[in-house]
Symmetry: C2
Subunit: 185 residues, 2 copies
Amino acid sequence: MNFCSHCGESIEQLVPAGDNRLRDVCSSCGTIHYSNPNNVCGAILTWGEKILLCKRAIEPRYGLWTLPAGFMENGETIAQAAAREAMEEANAEAKQLDLFGIFNLPHISQVYLMFQGELKTDQVSPGEESLETDLFAVEDIPWQQLAFPVVKHSLELFINSGGQQKVHVTTAVKLAERKFEWLDQ
Amino acid sequence: MNFCSHCGESIEQLVPAGDNRLRDVCSSCGTIHYSNPNNVCGAILTWGEKILLCKRAIEPRYGLWTLPAGFMENGETIAQAAAREAMEEANAEAKQLDLFGIFNLPHISQVYLMFQGELKTDQVSPGEESLETDLFAVEDIPWQQLAFPVVKHSLELFINSGGQQKVHVTTAVKLAERKFEWLDQ
């Protein structure tokens, strides 16, 4: 942030009175511009024993497989955001969405909120952000072609949870590039 | 948003290519400025049968009682945010925090993530944002002096849950000023 989005004057970094963190503060009008984590909402949608994946038509990780998921928008709930992403990326509709996992990614200030649900039909098709959509049996999941560590983690937790209705809360601890350990909470 | 925080030029509202929502876009450098929901993390902390509440020393709702809670910061997990808020507002430390509820407030684009936990000691005291801190037996909770509907909802769910380890997911539907109905998911 270089300029105040309110008045257009220059920004300085300082700790405002009563605060304990550096913030972007306007040197002219005094507006404090906060930056906070974003939520990414998505879903593991099943048709019988098969799981819906989408092949990404956008960067980052173009051409790799992912679960339908994306940034939550203003004015919606976390379940609405997950349902919208499934529709936008795979023209997919779920019968019901249940919260399945919350995954902290503090190194990029994101929180993933993943739901699980059953597809209403097996008629799925790529939206604008997908090259392909497909339903994968567990043994056919393209583990080496998954777009993000959090997608792999979600799928592993889902497959190993055996249908338990528990909300998993885990945190990604970065060990190396694209290599993470997932700790409870 | 009036000015681009990147280059300082003027902003126009338009739907970018490949998008389906109005965004703040810079007319000069083309930067798209997204606005997304914020997370508020907090905790219901108990000492025996008593619950910690804080009397607000800041607006909005100065002088009314609340659960320790506040905006999640970049670089932290949801549990770390809840623990930090309990420390900042009440010098309170929990033995362990377990996720208890996720409350959608789409009318103000906020998501509350509330934890439950036991206090390590009953030595709590007001931080900068609190006038008082106190431990309340359920029958002494100042229901008419609570700061926010989501605080009342959290306390009611907690008291009625009887210690079940379920994560509640509900949404505030605004019926009138300061009057909400809470729907599952």
